[in-house]
């Protein structure tokens, strides 16, 4: 028996998984808060508690994500793009393009079987191109993040934002509300705006079937719908899109840790 851990410290939430022989046996999500070190530690404790193991039983741990450098107990740090590709591939082996929508950025990754990255693009460092834009708008409309997607689907008349800035977009949303525009139209508008940004990324690297979405954005049916419509495609959605990168990290840990374990034996 060997266990492996993947820790993804994201800008908004931190995700951790434990795998055993390639199978997910435990996962946990925590808000990242301010101190990544503390969050990572807590994440590990929770995970270990779930499987009732002492830390020493984890053969290999890989950390990734925005705060991946602040995970003191990891054996290795790996770029999130690679982990994401590995993770999605373990869920959907036929996926060749994954759209990863996180809190800080959106990225489009092309991969081959086995989850090896063959190309990628990352959005600019502007909140208007990331999942954060949705959070900002959800927040001012006082709608729970998990509800914005379903609500936006009800819209018949999505608004068009006149600004490309998330912060000014927030005020725009407020004035629209006061003009009597419905919340679903505003939400549909913001989903559309983000889908447009994502589609310009996609145009830059070209694409291949099958498609999937990962990251917190994958929890949002409204965004999925907008992207599908904008691009005329069908997106596969993994059961836990937010965990994909952490899962990928654990899978890489298996490969890596497995090698080490073997070499120890031969030595």
């Amino acid at each position: 028996m060997a266990w492996f851990m993947g820790i993804d410290i994201g800008s908004g939430s931190s995700k951790g998984v434990i795998t055993e022989d390639g199978k997910l046996v435990a996962y946990h999500v925590l808000p990242s808060k301010a101190n990544y070190r503390v969050v990572a530690q807590k994440l590990r404790d929770e995970l270990l508690a779930k499987v009732a193991l002492p830390p020493g039983d984890i053969t290999y741990t890989i950390a990734t994500g925005y705060g991946g450098g602040s995970v003191p107990f990891s054996n290795q740090q790996v770029a999130d793009i690679r982990c994401c590709a590995r993770g999605i591939s373990s869920v959907f082996p036929l996926v060749r393009t994954v759209i990863d929508v996180q809190g800080m950025s959106s990225q489009v990754i092309r991969l081959k079987e086995g989850g090896q990255v063959i190309n990628f693009v990352v959005s600019e460092k502007c909140a208007a191109g990331s999942g954060r834009f949705l959070e900002v708008i959800a927040n001012v409309l006082r709608i729970d993040l998990k509800d914005i997607g379903p609500l936006s689907l009800k819209s018949k008349n999505p608004i068009t934002f006149t600004t490309g800035c998330a912060v000014f977009g927030e005020s725009e949303a407020i004035s629209r509300v006061s003009e009597g525009i419905s919340k679903e139209d505003i939400l549909a508008g913001v989903h559309k705006a983000l889908a447009n940004k994502i589609s310009t990324l996609i145009d830059r690297i070209g694409v291949e079937e099958q498609w999937a979405i990962s990251g917190g954005g994958g929890l949002n049916v409204g965004l999925i719908k907008s992207v599908e419509e904008r691009l005329g495609i069908q997106l596969l959605v993994p059961p836990q899109p937010q965990l994909i990168t952490a899962l990928g990290a654990a899978i890489m840990a298996e490969a890596r840790g497995g090698l080490i374990a073997r070499s120890e034996i031969t030595n």
Binding site: N196, D203, G206
Partner: protein, 390 residues
């Protein structure tokens, strides 16, 4: 009313709405349509072998998506837009394309266009940057070769007579454009800047003789002067990089201003210089296209090879014609505008502003992203400028 019968400004609006319509019709009739980018391809030669020239423009209303895969985003958005339309198949109806070394990114885009779209006819004219005698000769040699390729592509001869004929026709069109521009000299002008721009875009979308007819109708309608713009305090000259969409001018004219004259390349820059009929018509063409066209993409100086330099004299020789425009059209303010990332126009701005200050014309410089949606912020700037000139 059938389409052909529709007159003057109505017809202009119609062409402006659907630029390619006429070209596609012509194509259906068996005529070959030749696309060209910018002002440097020699239209007289195209017309002389019975090709219909069609200017490749961008589209401010269409988001750029496909072009980002082969041009970076930190270059001129106009050219990105034009290429984007090409990559999206919007110029597929063209039988061939002629491009030239305008600016650096224009040159690169020509090669990219050819690499990706591989039209059945393509020619790249390497327009020199200086106006020296040797440079004129170099352009002439290229035009001779260009002629050969046109002949072999069309299977028709480009005879001297036909070329002279074409030169005369184009000069006639140019004279009519001047006549139209003259109608903007009264106060208020008889035709708005935005409408004039529509006319210019229309002319670049149809064959030259049809353009001549169209201009005649437009001129007579405008002279009747029923629907001209109201009198406004500001009479503006707009200088700068390409404007092929009326949005910017419309925005300015919705404020307290009339745009009465321009120095841009879908306007006076394209039509004011004539071709002199020389014994070898190529000489006149070379002179017009290299020396006559006043685009800042060409290096010119007050006195060729002078060993001492005088700044004001230099400015005078480069921008003196703008002073003349300002006088003739009774201008009281100048808007310098350019798409972002246009180096050609960008380097010119401080010098031109020095010159305008020197001759006492208020001026402002606006940079934009070649996108209709992104024009809104310019409104406040333009309005403030008008308040400044009062």
């Amino acid at each position: 009313m059938t389409e052909k019968e529709r007159k003057g400004l109505d017809r202009v609006r119609e062409i402006y709405q659907d630029r390619a319509h006429r070209a596609k019709e012509l194509k259906a009739e068996g005529k070959q349509v030749m696309g060209y980018l910018c002002l440097y391809p020699v239209l007289e030669m195209l017309t002389a072998v019975d090709l219909a020239p069609y200017r490749i423009l961008g589209d401010m209303e269409e988001p750029i998506t496909k072009a980002d895969a082969c041009l970076p985003t930190v270059v001129c958005p106009f050219i990105r837009s034009a290429l984007d339309l090409g990559l999206k198949g919007k110029y597929d109806f063209l039988d061939g394309v002629v491009m030239a070394h305008i600016c650096d990114v224009g040159e690169k885009t020509s090669h990219i266009w050819r690499t990706y779209l591989n039209p059945s006819y393509f020619y790249f004219i390497d327009t020199p940057h200086t106006v020296h005698k040797a440079a004129q000769q170099q352009l002439k040699e290229q035009l001779k070769d260009f002629k050969k390729t046109l002949e072999s592509f069309t299977g028709r001869e480009l005879s001297l007579d036909k070329l002279k004929q074409a030169i005369k026709t184009y000069n006639r069109q140019r004279a009519l454009v001047r006549e139209l521009y003259d109608l903007r000299k009264p106060d208020p002008p008889l035709i708005s800047g935005a409408e004039t721009l529509q006319v210019m875009v229309a002319l670049m979308s149809i064959p030259v003789d049809e353009g001549i007819d169209l201009l005649r109708q437009v001129i007579s309608e405008v002279k009747e002067g029923k629907n001209g713009p109201p009198k406004k305090p500001a009479r503006l000259l707009v200088w700068g990089s390409i404007i092929d969409n009326t949005a910017l001018i419309r925005m300015i004219e919705e404020l307290e201003a009339n745009v009465v004259i321009d120095d841009t390349c879908v306007g006076s820059r394209a039509y004011f210089p004539n071709v002199e009929l020389t014994d070898d018509p190529l000489d006149g063409l070379v002179y017009r296209y290299l020396v006559g066209l006043k685009c800042p993409r060409t290096f010119r100086e007050s006195v060729f090879g002078e060993t001492k330099k005088d700044y004001i004299k230099d400015l005078e020789s480069r921008f003196g014609y703008i002073k003349d425009y300002a006088k003739e059209w009774n201008v009281n303010g100048v808007i310098l505008q350019s798409v972002r990332y246009c180096d050609i126009h960008g380097y010119e701005v401080p010098g031109l502003r020095d010159y305008l200050d020197h001759i006492g014309l208020p001026n402002i410089y606006l940079e934009h992203d070649y996108s209709e949606a992104a024009l809104a912020p310019l409104r406040t700037r333009a309005q403030a400028f008008l308040e400044v000139i009062g």
